[in-house]
Amino acid sequence: MAVTVSIPTILRTHTGGEKSVEAAGKTVLEVIDDVESRHSGLKARLVKEEKLHRFVNVYVNDEDVRFAGGLDAEVKDGDTVTILPAVAGGAR
């Protein structure tokens, strides 16, 4: 089962500069674990205490997984998983 994972600039140090990598898995977490098995260090940037890190957005195709089951969100063959750092901040 092949899924394309799109990697943001800041995390490409973990993928040897690759913009996207292929992975397998039925959920977002399985996909992340599969990528981690070949590109170690990536998971720690995405997952904290078994939840998605608040600094990062993960999408399955067009859907933000925060609204679709988080790390348990379902992934199907041919899907694209896009990782993007949240753009946020402020005086608070």
């Binding site: 943001p8 600039t9 800041i10 600094f55 957005n57 999408y59 067009d62 933000d64 925060r66 896009t82 993007l84 750092p85 949240a86 753009v87 946020a88 901040g89 402020g90 005086a91 608070r92």
Partner: protein, 140 residues
């Protein structure tokens, strides 16, 4: 790397106008430019999904659309800007914790004074803030 933000007067004016318009909420957006050029060219104001005077966040669907569009155009976010509406134009701890584009110029505008704005630019790399000069290029 000697850092300076070179930016057209028009774009500075657009950022300040956006910040004034959304005051007292924080305004935010991007100026995209060709990858590797370090030239901010395309002004893209974003909605502050937080609609807050002390926090900003790009809406997650808008963020995905923005990055896909930039990818298709071979663009990168050369400038990422936001406003502080009651404090100085200096990155807060929150700004630093979220900063994840080491190649971007982080522009902060302060609108706390109704007459005079502050417009400053920074690099934020691995938690380290470095202010840089802003060179405003007048339109030809």
């Amino acid at each position: 790397m000697t850092d300076v933000l070179r930016i057209h007067r028009d774009l500075v004016d657009e950022i300040v106008a956006h910040a004034r318009r959304d005051h007292p909420d924080e305004a935010c957006g991007v100026i995209a430019g060709p990858e590797g050029s370090d030239r901010p060219l395309r002004f893209i104001p974003m909605l502050n999904a937080a609609r807050s005077p002390t926090f900003y966040e790009f809406d997650s669907a808008d963020l995905l659309k923005l990055y896909r569009e930039m990818d298709a155009n071979d663009e990168v976010p050369v400038v990422i800007y936001h406003s502080h509406t009651a404090t100085e134009a200096y990155p807060s701890r929150t700004d630093v914790s979220y900063a994840s584009e080491p190649g971007a110029h982080y522009v902060l505008v302060s609108t706390r004074d109704p007459e005079e704005h502050e417009f400053r630019s920074y690099r934020i790399v691995e938690g380290v803030i470095t202010e840089e000069p802003v060179e405003v290029v007048e339109a030809e």
